[in-house]
């Protein structure tokens, strides 16, 4: 956008199409006023990079003749406008800024030289990601190449899956052996009324495919158990655990530590949610936080106690946010931190979670699991069924 009209210099702005026509005819010099990493991702053929901070110093070398026609271009048109003001103040006589920048250029279908591989349709679909310097084309490609497994396509998994799919996570696996029930629809927004009775994985797949055809959905329409868990998780980069029972949570933890897979783990009840991110050996694991499960009579479930749908959605989206940060390698994931959300008070509380030196799974004294025992796990149903501390 052009700045307020307090400038003494007015700058000619031209459209990408006009710039293309001029450049194609020859005679104009195109200067790209972005940062090197942006130029690296994609740029217009024949453009010369001069970052905005050094434009005044370098322009004389790049364009010695001040009567030369110069077109300036950046990402969206702001930096190039400012650069045009600078050039005019230096005495350049024939300067224009390309409105809308390379984003608009690409949106018009004009050609760029790119080191990375997104289709024009993808550049359009993910443009609000690509605009973020922390994401960019490179980050979007990471997302498209990422494989994320969701344990559960329910209260937590439904919102997580929707946003991961929209974000362009290229492969989304869904583990769920349940069917859509009318009582799910108050919070499981990936399903709908007409799909009551259908398997949840199939219903979720249909919604995801309609939302974003870039996503490959893999259905795991069965119960996760000690025999199949390693096969299921081994090809995924990140696991999202929204399981509704302790045996599966402990099983998932122990399996993911063995295969060194990060797990984003949330749980919900009534108006309260908890979330943490467990990256094996980098931070604590689920068992460092909860060494043993509570006995069944002290472990209420959503089906018995109810849950506010919007709160489930909020926790599901916190999970999605964690996944995207892990995929992109940006920000501070909830490693070693447990975030508690109290929806009634709208309050977040953060607790420290440390690696337990006595942890039987990831601690320094944890027994090494030999290859022959890799797929064998203890009886979690019994472990969680009242044999606490045994």
């Amino acid at each position: 956008m052009a700045p307020e009209a307090t400038e003494t210099q007015t700058v000619e702005e031209i459209t990408p199409q006009e710039a293309f026509t001029e450049l194609d005819a020859g005679g104009a010099k195109l200067i790209d006023t972005r940062e090197p990493y942006e130029y690296e991702e994609s740029h217009i053929e024949g453009s010369e990079l001069i970052p905005p901070g050094v434009i005044a110093d370098r322009i004389l070398t790049a364009v010695p003749d001040k009567s030369q026609r110069v077109i300036l271009q950046c990402r969206s048109g702001a930096r190039s406008y400012d650069a045009a003001v600078v050039l005019k103040s230096l005495g350049y006589e024939d300067v224009a800024s390309m409105a809308g920048g390379i984003l608009e250029w690409e949106a018009q279908g004009l050609p760029v030289e790119s080191n990375v591989n997104l289709t024009p349709a993808q550049r359009d679909r993910y443009s609000r990601h690509i605009l973020l310097p922390e994401v960019g084309v490179e980050g979007q490609i990471k997302m498209l190449e990422a494989k994320v497994l969701l344990l559960g396509a329910g209260g937590l998994g439904a919102p997580t899956a929707l946003y991961l799919a929209a974000a362009g996570i290229g492969t989304i696996g869904l583990v769920d052996d349940d069917v859509v029930d009318a009582s799910n629809l108050q919070r499981q927004v990936i399903h709908n009324t007409s799909r009551i009775g259908e398997p949840k994985t199939a219903s979720a797949r249909q919604t995801i495919e309609e939302l974003n055809p870039d996503v490959n959905v893999i259905e795991h329409n069965f119960h996760l158990n000690a025999e199949n868990i390693l096969d299921v998780i081994k090809d995924y980069d990140i696991i999202v655990d929204g399981a509704d029972n302790f045996p599966v949570r402990y099983l998932m933890n122990d399996a993911s530590v063995r295969l060194k897979k990060p797990v984003v783990s949330a749980s919900i009840l009534s108006f309260d949610g908890q979330i943490s991110t467990f990256v094996p050996y980098e931070g604590p694991c689920y068992r460092c936080l909860y060494p043993t499960p509570p006995p069944p009579e002290l472990a209420p479930s959503c089906s018995a106690n109810g849950v506010l749908g919007a709160m489930a959605g909020q926790m599901g989206l916190l999970q999605a946010n964690e996944v995207l940060k892990l995929v992109l390698g940006i920000g501070e994931p909830l490693i070693g931190r447990l975030l508690l959300y109290d929806a009634l008070g709208t309050r977040f509380t953060e607790l420290k979670v440390r690696r337990d030196p006595e942890c039987p799974i990831c601690g320094p004294n944890a027994p090494e699991v030999p290859e022959s025992e890799m797929g064998k796990f203890p009886d979690y149903e019994a472990f969680c069924g009242g044999h606490v501390g045994s």
């Binding site: 043993t292 479930s301 008070g345 440390r354």
Partner: protein, 92 residues
């Protein structure tokens, strides 16, 4: 007086209170006074031998008392003791 944050699973034993005051200069004293005031919380918090149940985490402010001095951890008047049982509610 220190306050104790009550998790959802225990609120039926505290008259739905989410936070209650309990006197004490250590975490153990605070929890014992909580149990005196709300006897039904005892089963969730302590084993038959009077030890803190392993499936219950107790935090002093943002730190797990297991990495402090456990039930002997000193508590100040403005501190918050949080009881945190594992929850498994989720998806299916």
């Amino acid at each position: 007086m220190p306050s104790v944050k009550i998790p959802p699973v225990l609120r039926k034993h505290t008259g739905d209170a989410t936070e209650v005051d309990a006197a004490g200069s250590t975490v153990g004293e605070v929890l014992n006074n909580l149990v005196v005031a709300y006897p039904d919380t005892k089963e969730q918090l302590f084993s038959g031998e009077g030890e803190l149940n392993r499936f219950v985490n107790v935090y002093l402010n943002d730190e797990d008392v297991r990495v402090l001095d456990g039930l002997e951890t000193a508590v100040g008047d403005t501190d918050t003791v949080m009881i945190l049982p594992a929850m498994a509610g989720g998806s299916f």
